[in-house]
Symmetry: C2
Subunit: 248 residues, 2 copies
DNA sequence: CATTATTGTCTCATTTTGTGACAATAAAAT
DNA sequence: ATTTTATTGTCACAAAATGAGACAATAATG
């Protein structure tokens, strides 16, 4: 760290001004639904992973780029759910604090101090495949259970809440959730995932009957765990099932 | 018209650069679901009503402002449904044509020639209460049935299609559609509205049972039309029913 | 070999939805 | 006045979906 030599943040010219994205990245560890939250260096600010859009880049692609940088994953289920455009989103003090804590030069008219409109996406990823990497500005990036989030800066709590609401609404009709499981799983696994997302218990027999009737699962061999009980079948999603979606 | 004296378009400084909105305004005339489409002066370009966001204005408010200018209505059911952010949305030739056809000065770097990210909303309004007014740039603004739209410029057909898709998905769960009817209506009226939106016939008895079970209607006096048959009851939505919504 | 917890499947009750029948009109035709 | 006509509100029953529990099958354990 060289306190006298300040770093220069990427130029205003490189990005679409006033435009940002934020992503709510859902993962599932077999028990709880979690999201990725990062902490900015030396500020105590927790935030959703976000970023900016290059001048000649689709907004969708900017989000994919950010996801790739932070998770290493390429084909991620991604869904845009809302754009947050209130003037109250301008947060020059917060941005100044973050930039200064990271030893960046902050001119009076630095473009990060402007108002930003943020396009928000949620993503579903496999918890186990990912070892998230902090970006340049952040100390850490960690999983937090959906009901145990730290206080998030700006309107990020509202964004996360709306993401969860949308995920729940889409769960049945878009058969999402499918990206949150390993490739083979038991009936109990997928039921617990649905329970974690919806935050309520489901009846075993009804759930099983319903999801089998959907005709989206393939049954495989049995799973022998060493537990003292009947072994469950393993299932996977049918090959033609839209496990990974990037387009609507 | 003074061909030598060119007009000046509002300054780049007044608006958030690269940001626009488009609105899909649904109306219902008792038979068909229609949307408002405008035609730019002397260009043959048909487009959805759109506009720009002032530097110190919420995106939602910009849309409401545009709706008010074009329809005169204040409390409109409005729902944001998607943000279109591909680079392919830049359409300098189209914008230049429109500006020149309207006798505006067009500098090489005029801000309208830039790439725009558009936040799209749909609105539901009462067909009968509205006499749409063309704005400064447009010749006309007219209702078009949803399945008889003219060719729309840029990606506006995609925007309209997605609006309709979202409206259909939201119809049951958000009880929208309610803003498309007069304050009192018969069971047949509301059934026909649902049919127009969904594009499919519904069974009379089932529809009636279902919508009455929702407990959102108040029954009033009968309607005597002069037709040779049993008079139907009139209904209205319950007072506490969210007929007009601006927030989620 | 008995015990134990869990699973797959079946059965029956309950609720919701599909489908048609039918009597009760309001106005026009006779 | 009476009959005719089209439409409406409601009921009745069938079919389908869902809720709720029962039960035998079965991996491991001891």
């Amino acid at each position: 760290m060289t306190p006298n030599k300040k770093k220069i943040f990427p130029s205003r010219e490189d990005y679409v001004p006033h435009l940002a994205y934020d992503s709510v990245i859902f993962g599932y560890n077999g028990k709880q639904l979690k999201i990725l939250v990062l902490e900015y260096h030396n500020t105590g600010f927790f935030a959703l992973p976000g970023g900016f859009v290059k001048r000649n880049e689709n907004v969708d692609d900017a989000v994919k780029r950010g996801l790739k940088e932070r998770t290493g994953l390429d084909n991620i289920y991604l869904e845009q759910f809302h754009t947050f455009g209130d003037t109250t989103r301008a947060a020059p003090d917060v941005m100044r604090t973050i930039l200064e804590a990271n030893n960046f030069e902050v001119e009076e008219d630095h473009w990060l101090l402007d108002r930003f409109i943020s396009v928000a996406y949620y993503a579903l990823i496999n918890y186990d495949e990912v070892h998230p990497r902090p970006d340049e500005l952040s100390d850490s990036i960690n999983w937090y259970a959906i009901d145990q989030l730290p206080n998030l800066m700006m309107d990020h709590e509202e964004i996360a809440a709306k993401a969860l609401k949308t995920l729940r609404e889409n769960l049945d009709k878009k058969l999402t959730g499918t990206n949150l499981l390993p490739s083979k799983f038991t009936m109990k696994d997928i039921q617990q995932l649905y329970e974690a997302i919806n935050g309520e218990k489901l009846r075993r027999t009804t759930f099983q009957r319903k999801i089998l009737a959907m005709d989206i699962l393939v049954r495989h061999e049995k799973l022998f765990t060493g537990g003292a009980h009947k072994a469950p079948f393993l299932y996977s999603f049918k090959a033609n099932h839209p496990k990974i979606l990037n387009a609507p």
